[in-house]
């Protein structure tokens, strides 16, 4: 019997064990990072969702307000047109009555014309179409710029709706990211399972599951990087 000590061979049960431990550790760190990114994406999605809802409320309020204002302004403008036309018509009628020798009718029509004209003149001071330089007629017999008025009336609501759309897009972007990170975390769980299985097995099967685990880990990491960058 030889008394020389034989070189210590690595037991089959211990082979690749350290490698599996290191890989499991790497998987844990990557999973922790992805979990943090998922939480962050979720928070950003929630905030964008909140903003989009808030802007929607503001937009509906502004549309209601601008609708009331437009209704008031256009109604005033319609009254001016009506009273001006009435005044003109009554003046013509007074002229006809005068030519017909109807003194009483002439006086009555003149009063009506005066009443309509005084109402029209007063209404003009209430109308944005005659007091605001942006919309007022450029000539004495010209018409107000109603197109410019309508464009300006909806400008604020349009601006809020644009902000709302931007916030909604932002929400969809971060929500998709958060969902994708959940997918990555699920694949990470599979990697954990494979490394755990590798730890429990011996021989060639251990190596096979280590390779499966590494491939899964790399795929999940690449996916996470892709989500982060895109």
């Amino acid at each position: 019997m030889s008394e020389n000590p034989t070189p210590a061979a690595v037991e089959p049960t211990e082979r690749y064990k350290i490698l599996i431990v290191v890989l499991t550790m790497i998987t844990t760190v990557i999973t922790a990072i992805v979990a943090t990114l998922q939480a962050d994406a979720n928070i950003r999605a929630n905030n964008a969702n909140r903003d989009s809802q808030y802007y929607a409320i503001l937009a509906s309020g502004e549309l209601h307000r601008s609708g009331l204002q437009s209704s008031y302004d256009l109604n005033t403008f319609a009254k001016i047109l009506y009273e001006t036309q009435t005044s003109l018509m009554m003046q013509f009628t007074a002229l006809q009555s005068e030519q017909g020798g109807d003194k009483f009718g002439t006086a009555l029509n003149k009063i009506s014309a005066l009443a309509a004209q005084s109402r029209a003149d007063k209404l003009m001071s209430f109308s944005i179409f005659f007091t605001d330089e942006r919309y007022a007629p450029k000539t004495s017999d010209g018409m107000p710029d109603t197109e410019a008025y309508l464009k300006d009336a909806n400008a604020k609501a349009t601006e809020i709706v644009e902000q709302q759309n931007a916030a909604a897009d932002e929400y969809h972007k971060w929500s998709r990211k958060a969902d994708s990170y959940v997918g990555v975390l699920t694949v990470m769980a599979v990697a954990f399972f494979l490394f755990g299985l590798a730890q429990a097995l011996t021989g060639k099967m251990r190596l096979v599951f280590v390779i499966f685990g590494v491939v899964t880990l790399m795929a999940a990491s690449s996916w996470a990087m892709l989500i982060l960058v895109v």
């Binding site: 550790m25 922790a32 929630n46 009331l68 008031y72 109402r119 001071s125």
Partner: protein, 223 residues
């Protein structure tokens, strides 16, 4: 001595106790992070409810403002007509103006606050609708003083805190992993992994405490 310590059964028990403590701490930290997340959600919900109430109140105030503006306009136009009749020199018109001034104008004036309160009358004979709207808003301070942005700001603070607490939870989870590794590892590396685990745990604990302290003071003492 290190070898003796590594192989000591007491160390195994010590690691098991540490793992139990870290597990409990991680669970508590996760619970706190979840609570903060929930508080952020509550603040967002409150902000949206406030925004809706405030907007509904503002819409009603605008509706009332323009309704009163219509009545005030009718009064102003009738007054202009009366003045035109009075200055016309026509006796019939003047008689009609006197009757209108006596019976029609006082009643038309009563319909709108814009015509009874001189503060609203502008120098050009029209009415200050913005001032009327501001007064209507101020008349219901409960709704007018609602501030959705304040709730959203609070929600942002909670969300920010949740972000950093999640990092703390992750640190605690990593420390748990290292401690588990220490329990299972080969005898020579047990102490090293235990030290790393405890180190990360303490760092995570300090991190968590600091985050809580900072946001606690930012919110003026509110949890």
């Amino acid at each position: 001595m290190l070898k003796r310590l590594n192989e000591s059964p007491r160390l195994e028990v010590f690691i098991a106790i540490i793992i139990a403590v870290v597990s409990l701490t991680t669970a508590l930290a996760a619970w706190r992070a979840s609570m903060v997340s929930s508080a952020a959600g509550d603040a967002i919900r409150q902000g949206l409810i406030d925004a809706l109430k405030k907007q509904a109140a503002a819409s009603e105030d605008w509706r009332r403002t323009y309704e009163e503006a219509g009545h005030a306009q009718t009064y102003a136009v009738a007054l202009a007509q009366v003045e035109a009749f009075e200055n016309s020199g026509d006796k019939a018109a003047q008689a009609q103006a006197a009757t209108m001034r006596q019976y029609l104008l006082p009643n038309l004036q009563l319909v709108s606050e814009l015509t009874t309160d001189e503060r609203y009358l502008k120098s050009d004979g029209t009415y200050d609708l913005d001032l009327r709207f501001a007064d209507l808003e101020a008349a219901v301070p409960d709704l007018g003083s609602l501030d959705p942005q304040a709730s959203f700001k609070l929600a942002d603070q909670y969300s920010s805190e949740q972000r950093w607490l999640t990092v703390g939870v992750v640190l605690l989870a990593i420390s748990l992993f290292w401690l588990a590794l220490s329990q299972l590892s080969l005898k020579r590396s047990r102490l090293a992994t235990l030290a790393v685990g405890v180190g990360i745990y303490l760092f995570g604990l300090v991190w968590f405490g600091l985050v809580e302290l900072i946001f606690f003071s930012v919110r003026g003492g509110a949890l």
